[in-house]
């Protein structure tokens, strides 16, 4: 399925728009600095939402807020319809089972092999037998595009790209509905980054995932996202498909996309079309 077909599909009215994440009037003050002032954002089921913004615009902070890792100063965040900042530990756990996260530094457990890393969520949250856990984990490792031998290595023995894939394998092992990716392609070479985009798109289609990705990678933005939310001045300046976002006259957005890299990515995408 190409990007455009998918866009058309999401426009069809019969597909109901269920929002998995709703952020409203979120403000966050960290160490005396107001990082986010008034953020409003919704993530709809089945879409790939990109979150972009200049360095220090609070992208990662927003992600941490949605994951419930930091307390909001004011405003509310609802994930799967539940307010995350007031959720009881039991509710929070039930939400955590329904999402997967790939952190910026992968956050693989360094003392466990890749296989054990991927098995970890299964061990904690399911009642499956050991053999089943192993096979499911191996399946996810292979689905993430890693060779089988890699499963028995420790994270430190893997290259950056493989670590990212391992992180994805761990994020999808519980078959979550929602996946958060923090800078998934940063630090990867262009070819690997493109493969990674393909992987994300593939997984999204086959496993019916909703994906929220924080990224700087213009190529990823053009090729795989359905909508892009632009963070700046402490709020979401605009959340729209990239094709219209680049035409947005806001000075911050304009300068973000009008650099040589931005123009190249756009040109390439339009040529491919």
């Amino acid at each position: 399925m190409t990007k455009d077909e998918k866009n058309d599909q999401s426009k069809t009215p019969n597909k109901q728009q269920e929002s998995l994440v709703e952020v409203s009037h979120l403000a966050v003050t960290l160490g005396g600095t107001e990082v986010l002032k008034d953020v409003n954002l919704t993530v709809n089921r089945g879409e790939i939402l990109g979150i972009v913004g200049g360095s220090g615009s609070g992208k990662t902070t927003l992600l941490r807020e949605i994951l419930g890792l930091t307390e909001p100063t004011s405003g509310s965040i609802r994930v799967f319809g539940k307010d995350i900042s007031t959720a009881s530990p039991a509710t929070l756990l039930s939400l955590q089972k329904r999402w997967g996260v790939l952190f910026q530094q992968n956050a693989l457990f360094s003392s466990l092999t890749l296989l054990d890393n991927v098995i970890f969520p299964l061990k904690e949250h399911t009642n499956l037998g050991e053999e089943t856990r192993r096979e499911l984990a191996l399946l996810k490792i292979m689905m993430a595009g890693l060779p089988e031998e890699a499963a028995f290595k420790y994270p430190a023995e893997l290259s950056g790209g493989m670590q990212k894939r391992a992180g994805v394998a761990r994020a999808i092992v519980l078959d979550p509905e929602l996946i958060f990716l923090d800078e998934p392609t940063s630090g990867l070479d262009p070819a690997t980054a493109a493969q990674f985009d393909e992987l994300i798109q593939n997984l999204q289609e086959t496993m019916d995932l909703t994906i929220v990705m924080v990224t700087h990678d213009l190529d990823s933005l053009w090729t795989i996202t359905d909508r892009v939310a632009f963070l700046g001045e402490g709020k979401v300046l605009s959340a729209e498909p990239i094709t219209t976002l680049v035409k947005n006259p806001h000075p911050l957005i304009k300068s973000f996309f009008s650099g040589p890299r931005g123009r190249m990515a756009q040109l390439q995408y339009q040529q491919e079309k």
Binding site: S110, S111, E135, L136, L139, M143, Y154, A156, T206, M207
Partner: protein
């Protein structure tokens, strides 16, 4: 848990009917329902997915697994009536499912091989420790030629953190050791009415043995472990690599100041411990054995020669060297994982204490041969 997923064989249509939510939470339930052995008797089977409400990749894995097991037993299996998304997922899963089972690196070795490997590993480690010490010695000698490049700041911060900040805890523990020693020895001396000899016993044992040994052990727990952990984290963070590329060797900035700093600090701390251990002994003698402060202090210089103090102090730089080099060496050996920081920190403390006691035994033998 509610089980609304089901899998059953329908004789009429010769189909395996899958129903409900084929999701990860239902897998173990479905696994117990799937009777592959009984189904293998049929020559061909159709797996019908029409009634599956939701299929995730775990469910798809189970279906692929079922297909594979049955095919292996000679059953022709066909999938039918799965919706397009499920078919896609099934294809994806079937393409990625591993064919051979139980592949794991075999690294079982016999006991003798294990012993040999351990021996060789330990020898290699000793070798690399010696190389580490040798390299530092060379660097140190080079530094003595140009005292301008000494890192006074890091040296003083080591003295501050390993020495000054350790004063209270060393004082407290030494005081308590003094109290305990005086109490235990006092009990015996009292029986013979030899109360006053407590001064001799305390003075000799504390100045010669207890204070240097106890201080070294406390410092290796307090400072040696800190050396290993902080250097290990720097190694993991590539800070050591950064220093190397900036033309500053980790030895001159991080290691030598730590070693020299500890060699300055440990004798001082030992003296501090001497004072407080004797003080503890004095308090106890005063209360239990009726030896007044004045008596104690008058007798002390008469029976304890300066030699005792010097013998005690003389070994502390050696202890410092042991603690600091092992702490630094283990820190620099940290590799790859957070786990290895923990492992090496443990190792550094255990090894340091071990070698301190070995050194103590050697000193005792040497001093007794020299009739000191």
């Amino acid at each position: 848990m509610k089980h609304d997923a089901n899998v059953s064989y329908d004789r009429k249509s010769n189909q395996i009917l899958c129903e409900g939510d084929w999701t990860i939470s239902q897998i173990s339930h479905l696994q117990s329902l799937a009777k592959t052995k009984a189904w293998a008797q049929y020559p061909n089977l159709v797996i019908n997915g029409a009634k599956i409400r939701h299929l995730d990749s775990a469910g798809a894995w189970l279906i692929s697994n079922l297909t594979q097991t049955l095919t292996k037993r000679g059953v022709k299996v066909e999938l039918s009536e799965f919706n397009p998304e499920a078919t896609k997922l099934l294809e994806m899963v079937a393409g990625n499912i591993k064919q051979e089972k139980h592949i794991e690196p075999t690294n079982k070795i016999s006991n003798i091989a294990w012993l040999g490997k351990q021996t060789v590993d330990k020898l290699k480690e000793l070798n690399s420790y010696l190389a580490f010490v040798g390299q530092l010695s060379v660097e140190f000698l080079q530094l003595t030629k140009e005292p301008k490049s000494w890192r006074w700041k890091s040296l003083s911060s080591i003295i501050y953190s390993a020495g000054y900040q350790g004063l209270p805890i060393i004082a407290l523990l030494s005081f308590l050791v003094g109290v305990v020693l005086a109490y235990q020895m006092g009990l015996q001396l009292e029986k013979y009415g030899a109360n006053v000899y407590i001064v001799d016993l305390l003075g000799l044992s504390i100045l010669r043995e207890f204070a240097p040994l106890m201080t070294a052990i406390m410092v290796s727990g307090r400072t040696g472990s800190a050396f290993t952990a902080s250097l290990g984290m720097m190694k993991l963070n590539q800070e050591i690599d950064a220093l190397n590329t900036l033309g500053v060797t980790p030895g001159e900035l991080l290691l030598i100041p730590r070693i020299i700093g500890l060699m300055i600090v440990l004798p001082l701390l030992t003296m501090w411990a001497d004072i407080f251990a004797i003080l503890g002994g004095m308090v106890m003698s005063n209360n239990m054995l009726d030896i007044s402060w004045v008596d104690f202090l008058q007798r002390f210089p008469q029976v304890i020669p300066l030699k005792t103090f010097i013998i005690g102090m003389g070994r502390t730089p050696v202890y410092a060297l042991i603690i600091a080099t092992i702490g630094c060496y283990e820190g620099m050996q940290v590799k790859n994982s957070a786990d290895s920081v923990g492992r090496n920190t443990t190792k550094s403390v255990v090894l340091a204490i071990f070698f301190i006691i070995v050194a103590d035994a050697l000193f005792s033998i040497i001093f007794s041969k020299m009739k000191l």
